[in-house]
Subunit: 180 residues, 3 copies
Amino acid sequence: LSAAGESEIDPGAVLGHPAERAPDLGPLRLGPGARVRSGSVLYDGSTIGPGLQTGHNVVVREQCAIGADVWIWSNSVVDYGCRIGSGVRIHSNCYVAQYTTIEDGAFLAPGVVTSNDRTMERKELEGPTIRRGARIGCNATILPGVVVGAGALVGAGAVVTRDVPDGAVVYGNPARERRP
Amino acid sequence: LSAAGESEIDPGAVLGHPAERAPDLGPLRLGPGARVRSGSVLYDGSTIGPGLQTGHNVVVREQCAIGADVWIWSNSVVDYGCRIGSGVRIHSNCYVAQYTTIEDGAFLAPGVVTSNDRTMERKELEGPTIRRGARIGCNATILPGVVVGAGALVGAGAVVTRDVPDGAVVYGNPARERRP
Amino acid sequence: LSAAGESEIDPGAVLGHPAERAPDLGPLRLGPGARVRSGSVLYDGSTIGPGLQTGHNVVVREQCAIGADVWIWSNSVVDYGCRIGSGVRIHSNCYVAQYTTIEDGAFLAPGVVTSNDRTMERKELEGPTIRRGARIGCNATILPGVVVGAGALVGAGAVVTRDVPDGAVVYGNPARERRP
């Protein structure tokens, strides 16, 4: 750890779980002031800024670059290779797929899943991009490669199959724009 | 704990995790006969009746009032400030948002998410109410402030955006009443 | 354990959790070469072939028969009485209901939930069947008794209420066939 000073790590949390898939990425680099709660596991090979907060049973895999003051709540998983800005909130029971980009200040409500594999043949993985300040509602699903625009609002339960313009409000399955 | 006698708590479960957000709420008050399985965490500042059963990796936050004989299965989260009656079943991988009310005998199937923040600006939180004996299907999403009536049945995958009358059957996205 | 040789089990994982519901099923039978990560719990009374891989906080209940080279990722639950073939992939945050059958090579994307109780009265449980090589998209929900055909593709966020023919592509809520 680059700086565990001031951090508070619950017993039973794991900092620096081996990244068996990519063992040469180096150690976990975790900024100061982290609060990591029981059952959470942060992998080697990721870089996380100051002020990380996790709930319980959170998993952050390797090869992620995560900014400052990011909160990830209980039972959420951030898979490998994600780029997450500062001030991002990932609520409970979310799954953030490999190669997802989440920009500063975006909010993922509980149960959100991002995906990266349109055919599920596990050949090419392309994560979606959630732009600055976008808000994604509970249990929403974001399809591979989709861009959710800055400040957009995705309704609860939406299945987002196309790009969402900046500031748009979308919902439904498939999600459609409802009002600007 | 007020009464841990007769209870069976797995190694690795945490009874009385500090409620850092609200440290003055007092200890966890857990009734007798609890069965709490590994990885589960019950916070200080909640009151839980006799006969609690949890699966694994369950989180119950502070400021909750939970009745008797409630079961909460693996990887579910009950966030702070919820009121949950007796005989309630919260199945696996559910998320129960802050200030949700769940009355006696209601059933949440796996993957259900309740929500409390329509704009996701985190200003006003208003949880939904699930009335007595209602049954909520797998992966359903219940929007903020919605009332699901007594004995109502919400289909799997439904996104419930409006109040549901007592005894009604609703499903779809958005959920609509289909037969009485 | 029949063969833990060559296996690698993280500290904090539990092999052989008591099956309190069915204590006479015998021990966990886990094939060689398993990799079980922290927080995961495998119950007594299940039989799992060689090469099991789990992420973190995975629960596999009793009375399951699981083939070779199965991967189950973080925060997923396989409930009791399931039959799972070889080479199956169950991704993160999934819930596999009691009495679900998943044939060889099928893939469940993150957040998939299978269900087994149409009325949620907990009288008769009938799990769905996911046939060989079928792929189920993120956050999809599969209703009780439904058969998803071999090689079928279920889109992200789909709610599958009817049988899906072999090789079909379905999506939406309710899921409908879109192209062969």
